[in-house]
């Protein structure tokens, strides 16, 4: 049996290296972008919690990554392509049976103004 030198991973609560404190109006902007309504009374608490998460995440800023290729796929695999064949059949009835609002085969949404 070998003895392991302890090294702390959990003891610290992520010291803040560079605070990217997010402001309440920024949360409102992000929520608008994500199309999520936040109850006005909740905005403060949501902002606080997200700030905490971002503080934790801000540890990344301390790492020099200038020469490192970003990794989008863990296997660095490349694409296999599909042959150009029609493989799907019309299943409109099944798909629209679970839709909130349809008429004449169309999905309905509140009027879109261009």
């Amino acid at each position: 049996m070998i003895t392991l030198r302890p090294r702390c991973l959990l003891g610290q609560r992520f010291p803040v290296q560079k605070t990217m404190a997010i402001e309440q109006d920024e949360i409102e902007k992000i929520a608008a972008l994500a199309r999520i309504r936040i109850e006005p009374a909740q905005v403060g608490q949501v902002t606080r919690r997200i700030t905490e998460i971002l503080r934790m995440v801000d540890q990344l800023q301390a790492v020099d990554t200038s020469d490192i290729e970003p990794m989008a796929n863990p296997l660095d695999a490349t694409a296999l392509l599909r042959a150009d064949e029609v493989t799907e059949v019309n299943r409109r009835e099944a798909f629209q049976a679970i839709a909130p609002a349809v008429e004449n085969g169309l999905y309905l949404v509140p009027k879109v103004i261009e």
């Binding site: 936040i38 998460i53 909130p100």
Partner: protein, 488 residues
């Protein structure tokens, strides 16, 4: 009948000791009688399960059965099941009955397995305790005041409570391994791309992977045989055929080199849990393995890296839930924007909304390079750490979690504390590696798990080590109290 492994049940079915209908009925009866306590199922298949069992019995009688024919299984409610509600633990999909099967479900159907029902989970698999489920948290059968772990908590609880002999889960940052550890069962997260993601509701596309959860490593091998293999309808599915994961289970561990990442044995690890892991490692040594200390120097960056990449991918994966084509739609939207924003406000729970906002922020103009791109670069460093280890050792071992299951509600008000629960499991997903948790001891009457981390596509080796370990130990045979209820 209900406290048997898949391998034993399969033998019983083939030998005609009981039928699949009888077996299925017995599990359905247990679910009806006991799941009020555990809340491990969101939907129970009932008649559909019995019909599938009857069809399986015919296959067995006709001699065309495979190993899993007639075996009842529980599936995490993240896999789309044709004609059976797939909620993903969310109000958003509470009314969603897919008109199609996930590839994983089709494969089990092809092999004659029976779907008992759909198990509870953290909403959209975002959580480590099952407490973010719209349907309320599942309970840990070892201590109903404790969490079963998450996100595949329902699957782990159902197997631990003997409501299903085995189940499926998904693992984006530990969601199979952590609940398996907390509930005293065996869970395997395969290599990214090993199991098709088609029809599995997406959380974080580059991290999500489905896998088996069962009492034993051997059962996991049986299930993985059905699940694994290339799926041309998932572009990220690995273009290699499945293999027989049962074939190498008995292989000797002599000469096996196991690396112990020193970062996984530090201060954050609960002392009693650490002692259990040390004991388990001695067992592996006794089986012929050599233990080698190794290092994963970027481990301290795992959580921040994960909590950029996973929310970023999730934030856009969840954009499709807009109240237009399926799922929840708010009442009387005044205009299009109101339809979107209220549907998503009301349909998503707090944790899901929080992660969507974090992810949206990380991808937004001006922050992309500082967050998302940076995280993708560090992700490469984290993977490279593992590759460096595998130059010296065959696999890695350590704790699955920092400690045993924590009490319900203990961390719900502190998201960051909850995120820290996944400290030992997240890196495996970032690197796309296979990881497994096997029961390795008890702390305060609750199980703890040992995590084994393999090389890419090294599932067979992990299952082999898990199986040999289980032949030498009995942790996987322990059962919570009060389960031995025979239901008529």
């Amino acid at each position: 009948m209900y406290d048997k492994t898949v391998a034993q049940l399969s033998a019983g079915l083939q030998a005609g000791q009981f039928s699949s209908v009888e077996l299925t009925r017995s599990f359905l009866a247990r679910i009806a009688a006991l799941d009020g306590v555990y809340n491990s199922f969101i939907s129970v298949a009932g008649e559909q399960a019995l019909a599938a069992a009857a069809a399986a019995d015919e296959r067995i009688a006709a001699g065309t059965a495979g190993p899993l024919t007639g075996i009842p299984l529980a599936h995490k409610d993240i896999f789309c099941t044709d004609g059976l509600r797939t909620s993903c633990g969310s109000r958003m999909l509470d009314n969603f009955v897919p008109p199609y099967d996930a590839t994983l479900i089709s494969r089990f159907k092809r092999d004659g397995a029976v779907t008992l029902g759909k198990t509870n989970m953290d909403e959209f698999a975002m959580g480590s305790s099952n407490e973010s489920s719209y349907y309320g948290a599942a309970r840990n059968p070892w201590d109903t005041g404790a969490v079963p772990g998450g996100s595949s908590g329902g699957s782990a609880a159902a197997v631990a409570a003997l409501l299903a002999p085995a189940a499926t889960g998904t693992d984006t940052g530990g969601s199979i391994r952590q609940p398996a550890a907390f509930c005293g069962i065996t869970g395997l997260k395969p290599t990214y791309g090993r199991v098709s993601r088609l029809g599995m509701v997406a959380f974080a596309s580059s991290l999500d992977q489905a896998g088996p959860m069962a009492h034993t490593a051997e059962d996991c091998a049986w299930l993985l045989n059905s699940m694994a293999g290339h799926d041309p309808r998932d572009a990220t599915s690995a273009p290699r055929a499945g293999e027989d994961y049962r074939a190498g289970l008995e292989d000797s561990l002599k000469g096996l080199r196991i690396g112990l990442p020193r970062e996984y044995f530090g201060d954050g690890l609960d002392a009693a849990t650490g002692a259990c892991i040390q004991q388990a490692l001695r067992e592996l040594e006794a089986l012929g393995a050599t233990l080698v200390e190794v290092s994963l120097p970027h481990s301290h960056l795992t959580i921040p890296t994960y909590y950029v990449i996973a929310p970023a991918e999730a934030s856009t994966n969840l954009s499709r839930y807009d109240g237009v084509r399926y799922g929840y739609r708010c009442d009387n939207p005044s205009d299009l924007l109101d339809l979107y924003t209220r549907t998503r406000e009301e349909g998503f729970g707090e944790e899901v909304k929080r992660r969507i906002l974090v992810g949206t922020y990380a991808l937004s103009a001006g922050y992309y390079d500082a967050y998302y791109k940076k995280a993708q670069q560090i992700r490469r460093l984290i993977k490279q750490d593992f590759m460096d280890c595998f130059a010296q050792v065959d696999l890695l071992a350590g704790p699955t979690t920092p400690g045993p299951a924590f009490p319900l509600g203990a961390k719900t008000d502190d998201p960051v504390a909850m995120y820290l629960e996944d400290i030992y499991t997240l890196a495996v997903n970032l690197a796309g590696l296979p990881g497994m948790s096997v029961p390795a001891g008890m702390v305060e009457g609750k199980p703890v798990g040992m995590q084994l981390i393999g090389q890419h596509f090294g599932e067979a080796r992990l299952l082999n080590v898990g199986h040999r370990f289980q032949q030498a130990t009995d942790w996987h045979l322990r059962r919570p109290a009060n389960l031995a209820v025979e239901v008529a």
